[in-house]
């Protein structure tokens, strides 16, 4: 399969004025030439193949938006190279935008006062979509979502969920090779989130569209992405299969137990007996959680140690979730 996106040593730096405090400082800033360089993206390399759904993750301010802006051609890289569909995006911005789709969770790109169907017809003209493909897509969309309630409604009158749905449909209409979805499920209810995930999955399946998904919702990642890329402070932290990620951290399991007696005392005692076992003990409400690294010590051993001195009322065993893994990466690194 071909790479649709090839990024090599991509860097984007901004010059920021060193600001000084107070009124005196502000006046000094007016004349100051004291700049420091801030790297929004630093030395990122990445290849993405046709048809992949890639979760592009990172905490706020990590450089996700900046990378996407460079891939869409809005921003020019400071150094490094970037090829999208074999083109340099900022040099051929118009041609590039013909073959990509972009959705921002909070910013609708549809015509505010027009009914959705009219927006679709305009997009048909703008992208030069041929009628056959257009009809096919509309028919396909009809099998995926209930178009009836939204098709003749002005975007202005839509709910956030309907609007996001419409934006996603619109972004795939011209059969782009790549679609950038920036937090498409932000602020949506559970049912709508699920609808949108199903929709993205189905379109990717049928059209083989590459999808770059940025999100803070690990539910999106679990449902859609086989590969994830994580960046923080502009640098790449992780780029691999999601299965690998789970395997990587998957040796961790959480054992949760509910014991008889005073919880804070129990926590202390268990912490003491397990102190040589390399586990983390914590508690919330009535549950005591023991995070166990199974490579080093078995969960059942831990349980039997606990059972020696305490009566276990209830217990649970939890796999580590993607959310936990990502949280761990954000806070501790890989």
């Amino acid at each position: 399969m071909d790479n649709v996106i090839e990024i090599k040593n991509l860097t984007k730096e901004f010059k920021v004025l060193n600001r000084h405090e107070g009124i005196k400082g502000s006046i000094r800033d007016l004349f100051s030439r004291d700049y420091k360089t801030v790297y929004a993206v630093k030395d990122v390399s990445l290849n993405i193949k046709q048809g992949e759904i890639v979760g592009y993750l990172g905490p706020n301010g990590a450089g996700k938006s900046t990378t996407i802006k460079m891939m869409t051609g809005v921003l020019k890289p400071s150094s490094g190279s970037i090829l999208v569909n074999g083109r340099i995006p900022y040099r051929e911005r118009t041609k590039n935008s013909q073959e990509i789709g972009v959705v921002f969770g909070q910013r609708s790109q549809l015509w505010w006062s027009l009914p959705l169907i009219e927006s679709f017809k305009l997009l048909k003209e703008i992208y030069g979509i041929d009628s056959k493909h257009y009809d096919e897509m509309m028919e396909f969309y009809g099998t995926l979502v209930d178009l009836e309630p939204i098709l003749h409604k002005p975007v202005r009158q839509m709910s956030l969920g309907q609007r996001t749905l419409s934006d996603i449909l619109a972004s795939f209409l011209h059969n782009p090779r790549i679609c950038f979805l920036d937090e498409p499920t932000i602020g949506l209810d559970v049912a709508m989130k699920s609808n949108i995930r199903t929709l993205i999955h189905a379109i990717n399946e049928k059209m083989n569209t590459t999808v770059i998904l940025t999100t803070h919702d690990m539910g999106d990642v679990d449902a859609l992405c086989r590969r994830i890329v994580i960046i923080d402070k502009g640098q790449m932290l992780y780029d691999n299969d999601i299965d690998h990620l789970r395997k990587f951290f998957g040796a961790y399991r959480t054992l949760k137990v509910r014991l008889k007696g005073d919880i804070s005392e129990n926590v202390k005692e268990i912490g003491a007996v397990l102190s040589d076992r390399d586990v983390t003990v914590s508690s919330d409400d009535e549950w005591i959680s023991v995070l166990v690294n199974e490579d080093k010590c078995r969960v059942l051993d831990v349980l039997s140690i606990i059972q020696k001195d305490h009566k276990v009322k209830d217990m649970q065993l939890q796999e580590i979730s993607t959310e936990d893994v990502i949280k761990k990466i954000y806070t501790e690194g890989v």
């Binding site: 706020n60 938006s65 809005v74 969770g105 015509w111 003209e125």
Partner: protein, 267 residues
């Protein structure tokens, strides 16, 4: 953006406009009130002249109906900027809040795409008052009428409106560089109020400013001379059409330069 011709853009604009008007008509009260508001505002300008000329018989050899002619001419010349480029007023907010980025992903001309989003119907009320005033003054002045004159008026109206659009574009585009650009845009908009006076009534400094710095004298005064003072047309008048095109083009380049520099806020 060069691979799509004028016909393509006109077609797209027509479609957006038709749909937009349809949806605006559905808010009937809003439509009528804003239209009436504009008509009253412009009619008030008419009345100002009427009251003024109760007291003077002329301003520097410019009599009542000639002044009305200028006024009508300027109203018509301002119509395109009012109708077509009204979204420039939102540019500042779109840029500051990062919404402008959503316009950057379409394979069509960015300036066109941005401005096509809004068509201000109020401008049509202005056009109505303008045409009425111009025709009324024309008849009262007994200028007569032939094809050549009509043609001249049309050409000079177009070039006048190009000046107006250029000024507004350039003023709006300053928001790509400066934070509070409202005052620049507001200034450009208010300056148009001076367009309805013959530039000769101002002192030499302002005459220079209104001709070469903020070229509002080209919005009504210089073009009107072709009809009102046909024996004594200055060179600047004949230069108005090419200069109008040049100014508009420069303002468009300036606008696009800002837009290309723009890179939005994080989301």
């Amino acid at each position: 953006m060069n691979n799509k011709g004028l016909a393509f853009y006109i077609k797209i604009y027509g479609r957006i406009l038709a749909q937009d008007l349809k949806s605006k008509m559905s808010y009937r009260a809003d439509f009528i009130i804003s239209m009436l508001g504009m008509i009253f505002t412009d009619a008030a300008g008419f009345i100002t002249f009427w009251i003024m000329f109760r007291n003077f018989s002329s301003i520097q050899e410019w009599e009542y109906y000639e002044m009305l002619f200028l006024y009508g001419f300027s109203l018509i010349a301002i119509t395109p900027v009012q109708c077509l480029l009204d979204n420039n007023w939102s540019l500042r907010i779109n840029v500051r809040e990062g919404d402008f980025i959503k316009y950057c992903f379409r394979p069509i001309n960015l300036f066109f795409y941005y401005e096509s989003e809004v068509f201000d119907v109020k401008g049509l009320g202005q056009l109505g008052v303008g045409v009425f005033t111009l025709v009324y003054a024309w008849i009262k002045l007994g200028l007569g009428c032939n094809v050549m004159m009509v043609l001249k008026v049309i050409v000079f109206l177009i070039s006048a409106s190009l000046f107006m659009m250029a000024m507004q574009n350039a003023a709006a585009a300053t928001c790509f560089w400066i934070e509070n650009s409202f005052y620049v845009l507001d200034l450009a908009f208010k300056l148009k109020d001076y367009a309805k006076y013959p530039v000769t009534i101002f002192g030499p400094v302002f005459r220079f400013v209104f001709t070469f710095v903020f070229p509002i004298a080209f919005i009504a005064y210089y073009p009107s001379l072709v009809i009102l003072r046909p024996d004594n047309v200055p060179l600047l008048t004949w230069l108005a059409p090419p200069l109008g095109i040049l100014f508009f083009y420069l303002s468009y380049r300036f606008w696009m330069l800002g837009a290309m520099k723009y890179n939005g806020t994080g989301s």
